[in-house]
Symmetry: C2
Subunit: 413 residues, 2 copies
């Protein structure tokens, strides 16, 4: 597997683009994005578990049920959530408008082959007129290059400060298969996702059920192990479209080819999840929490999430303060049985590793060393349960800073 350029346009047969249609009234930023495949794709999706679901999520769930997509249309600046029947009509219209543009004489594309996604403020009617007026320009802006990927990615960003995308190529059955992805999200982010959107394209030829399985596994080990602020959004959506243009031997069952595809997909999703954590609202550091020695992987994940979600751990991380007691405290309320007396805690980064807690009690360490380790841009908190089980998992988060409060104290204005 190797990294390649081009993002979602790296796989053959995909185009992308983004324009400003005027949803973000107060800015000149792009706000409408499109990703299109030349031909119908096997498609799979994972959506928010929030009981309050955006209209775009409701509509995309319906459309993806048949397993086939041609395009994804997405907007930023408005979540189209808590917008009632009018919101549902607007989301359906958004898909229909894109489908009309995709249709050629004699080959109509059904609206059901277009997924929709929205991100932005909740409870404000989606300005569907602006989207309608922008549609021609959006299709005219489509490109099959990194430029198209970049423009589409810009158009789905909200409080994001960095572009989060990538592409990889893996040999599958002797054929190079490409996977490209983009993601946005930096607030309202929590396990089981949040206002995060992730769009993944691939030219792999893969049966829809296997694609769905690979996506679920990848999301479970990437986006669902990400927490910024504990708020699971109404709009989370991760979609993958596979158009088969790589002409690899079709993946129809588990085995070597499936594993190669699934692990390439997972690795790309993990990269995006880490990038989202690093770009968490107001974040100054990426914080990886790794737990080893739990009863199983699920238990390790729950313990690591509890630490990564703790406001006190996050604030200490911001202050580069080796306050390991807060780590033990957060492990303790995770709702998972373990022996507190068997826990050791290490802080690690490019500046070294410091053991701060051994057998649940203080280990002698240099505060100076610990502060240096914790002052790096990427830090890791390692909790080992000695003599525990085989369960291990890493969760990604970020520190809690004043900028988070500033950003969210007045998001709407």
């Amino acid at each position: 597997m190797k990294d390649i350029s081009g993002g979602v346009c790296a796989p053959r047969g995909f185009k992308a683009g983004g324009v400003r249609c005027g949803i973000k009234e107060s800015s000149q930023k792009r706000d409408l994005a499109l990703i299109v495949s030349d031909r119908p794709c096997a498609a799979a999706g994972v959506f928010t578990t929030n009981r309050v679901q955006a209209a775009s999520v409701v509509v995309s769930r319906e459309h993806i049920a048949a397993g086939t997509l041609r395009a994804v249309i997405a907007n930023s600046g408005n979540a189209n959530a808590c917008t009632g029947e009018e919101g549902l009509r607007a989301a359906r219209r958004m898909a229909a408008l894109a489908a009309e543009q995709l249709s050629a004489p004699g080959s109509a594309v059904p609206a059901g082959q277009v997924a929709v996604a929205s991100t932005g403020v909740i409870g404000v009617p989606l300005p569907i007129g602006a989207i309608e007026r922008g549609m021609g320009g959006l299709f005219a802006a489509l490109k099959d290059s990194a430029e198209g990927h970049d423009a589409a990615l810009e158009a789905i960003m909200t409080t994001d400060t960095r572009k989060k995308g990538g592409a990889v190529e893996a040999g599958i059955g002797g054929v190079p298969v490409r996977i490209g992805a983009m993601a946005k999200g930096s607030g309202m982010i929590h396990p089981n996702m949040a206002t995060m959107l992730g769009f993944i394209t691939t030219d792999a030829d893969i049966e829809q059920g296997m694609l769905d399985a690979a996506l679920r596994r990848a999301v479970r080990r990437s986006f669902n192990r990400l927490t910024i602020d504990g708020d699971s959004s109404t709009n989370d959506t991760v979609l993958v479209l596979a158009n088969g243009e790589a002409r690899n031997p079709r993946i129809e069952a588990g085995g070597e080819a499936y594993e190669a595809f699934a692990s390439a997909l997972e690795s790309l999703c993990v990269r995006l999840a880490r990038a989202m954590a690093r770009d968490g609202e107001g974040a100054s550091r990426l914080m990886t929490v790794t737990v080893r020695g739990a009863a199983g992987e699920d238990e390790a994940e729950a313990l690591a999430k509890s630490v990564a979600s703790s406001s006190l751990v996050k604030a200490a991380c911001y202050g580069a303060d080796a306050n390991w007691g807060r780590v033990l405290c957060a492990l303790g309320y995770a709702g998972v049985p373990f022996d507190p007396g068997a826990v050791s805690v290490r802080f690690a980064s490019s500046a070294g590793t410091v053991l701060v807690c051994e057998k649940g009690g203080p280990a002698p360490f240099s505060e100076e060393d610990a502060a240096r380790v914790l002052s790096q841009e990427e830090v890791e908190i390692l909790a080992d349960i000695e003599g525990g089980g085989p369960g291990a998992a890493s969760v990604w988060g970020c520190d809690l800073t004043c900028d988070y409060v500033r950003i969210n104290g007045d998001y709407r204005s």
Copy 2:
């Protein structure tokens, strides 16, 4: 029921005091507190549910098992948590030292009649020598007046900025019965408590089992409906001591007298819980979240806690931003079934009430009015589920400010 002065010293037969023994090395603040009854008390306690439990919690649980206490000794500046066997020995020694001082020739007080509590930094050995040296002065400082209450209360405060205490008098069986209380806590606070300590005295004559039942009910509806930052501490302790000196007809079963006592206790605990929320680390506002129309009280509480715990709701509250979509979002991930389309949301304060969401969608409102309502020192978020069940509950929290981050970015130094 009426408010009276004197705090934990208001009930007859109680003394309290606080001194500086030197645990808080870098400050001149009091750090050692004592509450003593003239005679043995029926006693009950509620403790943290964290799997990592401070040594003081372990020892107090043991001591309260017999249902009888004479005194509570507490320190701030050190949590005596994650301190291993040495910590347990120190906690036992702390109780034994107080018991020695209480003993008179011919009437030894067992160490098991003294509860201990600690609050402060985790993972640092408790300086038991300082406590030992301070013991004489501590007992010399005992007073049966508001002054004693105040000194003891000061000695358990950490990042608290306000004193949280009170006392009430209720007629029980025609006899005036008094209940006094103090509490500390402003960070690491979450439902099921946190670094919160609550000490309650009463001169009621009440059987231990009934006292225990009254305390659990009061805690469930007060301190357990409080969230500052989602971190449940290793040290939470609420204790009640009843010495019977009011000479009311002994409360030995449910009925009018029990209800009068239990509701006076609950009302005092609610007052302290609200005071703790108002004094949350860095808080500029008290935020009450009330949910009505849930299936039951537990469901209402879970929904309200989800909103009160949301970092995004808390940050919007700080910014006096009427971002009601975040309220719906937080209701949506509470894990409780409800119909999002039936929810209405109001913001209320001394400046008025504004309806911002109706039937799950936007209600027309004046941003100016909403900002004025949300700018007050105490604000309420009311979520009504129309046509829902009889469940209602209020949860207390506070806004999220930069000061929270500052306070916790470098707590230890």
